[in-house]
Symmetry: C2
Subunit: 398 residues, 2 copies
């Protein structure tokens, strides 16, 4: 077994904004890659994205740009554009990797960069497949999830708060980089990859069966509140005003839930009455309302602590619902989470990679925007202090 | 540039169920890896997961197990357990990679498998960090998103329908495999990795700023319906009973929206009145209700086609809401999506990897459960037909 970070030696240039491409860089950085985020002077569109700290520093930006170096250049200046090409060319055998969601900038495109480095790995994130821009919330609207999310009987869409497609897109991008670099190490060949947020969403929905189901049935799933489609899972209120999510995704889970709540006999009677078998996913789902009605009093009659005690030692999957303030009050004992001192923000919890392994780097604070410009240009391109001062004075670098 | 699949030569053994670990294997398979899913005879807990085709075949299972080989073994039989170790040992220089969410099976653990193959890469997916089981819906309940999702004024949690944490976990697992294999190719060293669904969710929430925000403010975000936190985005109804999602995540988007709707003058007056600047994210967010009130009549007075015409050529990000049946009726022209003939299901749309590149394999149907057992054991372990018949007769393999 190794105790080194798995991506030692990898070097990635990220020209990015918002969630997907920054999360790609962050993910690689937290496994040991050197990631250099290059922004326009003053920052990209996400520089002041909410939430903000009282100082005005973006908690969001600093959260997504931990463990990276920050370089700022005047993107409109041909000399700055050449510096990017120089960085691609000079970034060593584990470098020559560009991840970007910027469009309409030929100097950042595969064709231009392959001229200075034929083995460049270039990953372009797009909104729609055809190049039209999009964000997570418009992609999600176009896909179908908002119409089957939310309380039964609710009319209209329910948007998600977690930008799940952005997150998946950023992780797919990291997979794209790593797979391309593997191939380059075998063959010496670079690669041009495009990744559309729309395609990420369609692929995932397809893999999970949503597209094939709609094709086969010609119908849309109903909106079923907090129930689980094709099984039995739901939220229940407890006597002390808390709420718990309870899930049975196998027959064993359900049998354990029936036993723990003292309802095994009642459910057996109900199965006979209905001609159902609650060990079967579809039968639990079909009869979800009557099952829930029988279970609800058990939860409603107990405080959360008693519910926990009653379900302890069973296979039943359950959790109290919590707010984020509850979550941050209860982070102790998780080796992934560290308290970091993020300039402009304060001492806050920050996560390392969830991939727990020897050599996993600790989270380190995001650089101040542009803080590493001189160091990167001197280190990778060998620019002198005089030259860097000159570029700064002429507004080429920030 | 290369025209080969990037992961040619990689071989992964997946002992898995439900979403996360199967999605890991699928993701690697759709980039060219040979992925062998090993199930207990009769299938794992996800074999009959909904949605189901009329034949009873799981659309979900076949969706998540495309492009793989399927092997079935009697997991309780020590001889079958030895076959798994033999496969790990014999799977070649790009093999010796195990991804599993199975727990409580020492013969599948890192320690055992490292004895037969010291450079094994072993990725163990867990529910909670401490090893307690969990599923996406219980993790999500414990994290905070359900309490800030859904219509303003709604009481109680709103669960997501997309198992977003499972998806992210599966993609992180693929990243874990690829990064570990990169390091093994450099150093010859294997790696033990654990990945908890809970940690995936905490890390992503942390990266997006939810944890630091809750720590700094001591308060939870409000439930704001379909509005976007810290910007201006919302759904609007059109004259013909459709609904659209409209997002402005930069000042330019908002200025374009104001111009396209003929409201630039009204918004300028409103900014003066309120002392606000709608080019600033926070000001658009603070005054979201009055902004929405002014915009709503423009949408309500137009059919969807006219809304589309009015916003065409602007930077405004928008999309009609659709149902899944709308989505599958409109898949033409996307090179990622193919029609495949999935035995037991029928001809259905199936996605290749969203990472578009030369050499991307096409989606191929999931194998029938256990269909590749003999081929894999003969090919990798050199077992004779007689021996395979013998193992089948003794119930060691399926």
């Amino acid at each position: 077994m190794s105790d080194a970070a798995p991506l030692d030696g990898l070097r990635v240039l990220e020209i990015s904004s918002f969630v997907a491409s920054p999360l790609c860089g962050l993910t690689l950085a937290q496994l040991g890659a050197e990631v250099i985020r290059i922004d326009p002077i003053g920052g990209a569109g996400d520089q002041h994205r909410w939430p903000l700290a009282p100082s005005g520093t973006s908690i969001y930006w600093t959260g997504l740009n931990k463990n990276k170096k920050s370089v700022t250049l005047n993107f409109r200046d041909p000399e700055a554009q050449r510096l990017v090409a120089d960085l691609v060319a000079a970034s060593g055998p584990g470098g020559g990797i560009v991840v970007t969601n910027a469009v309409g900038r030929p100097w950042l495109g595969y064709d231009q960069l392959a001229k200075v480095r034929p083995d460049v790995i270039h990953l372009q994130i797009l909104g729609h497949h055809d190049g039209r821009p999009a964000v997570d919330y418009t992609i999600n609207a176009g896909l179908g999830f908002p119409m089957i999310t939310g309380p039964e009987g609710h009319l209209g869409p329910v948007n998600h708060v977690l930008p799940a497609w952005d997150v998946a897109c950023g992780l797919y991008a990291a997979i794209g980089v790593l797979s391309a670099e593997r191939h380059r190490r075998s063959t010496g060949q670079g690669r041009r990859i495009t990744l559309a947020l729309e395609d990420v969403a369609l692929a995932v929905a397809g893999h999970l069966g949503f597209l094939a189901e709609a094709r086969l049935t010609g119908a849309d799933r109903p909106r079923i509140g907090n129930h689980l489609y094709g099984g039995f899972a739901r939220d229940f209120a407890t006597a002390d005003g808390k709420r718990v999510m309870v899930a049975t995704v196998t027959g064993r889970h359900f049998a354990d839930l029936a036993a723990a709540t003292g309802l095994a006999g009642a459910f057996a009677e109900l199965e006979r009455l209905l001609g159902a078998d609650f060990a079967v996913d579809g039968d639990r789902y079909e009869h979800r309302e009557v099952i829930a009605s029988l279970l609800a009093p058990w939860f409603a009659g107990r405080d959360l602590a008693d519910v926990a005690q009653g379900l302890a030692g069973t296979s039943v999957l359950w959790s109290p619902y919590r707010q984020f303030t509850d979550v941050v009050a209860d982070l102790a004992g998780n080796s992934m989470l560290h308290e970091i001192d993020q300039p402009g923000v304060g001492t806050v919890p920050a996560a390392a990679s969830p991939l727990e392994q020897d050599g996993r780097p600790e989270p380190s604070p995001a650089s101040r925007l542009g803080a590493d410009t001189a160091e990167v240009l001197a280190g990778l391109l060998g620019l002198s202090a005089t030259r860097i001062r000159d570029l700064t004075e002429h507004g080429v670098i920030g």
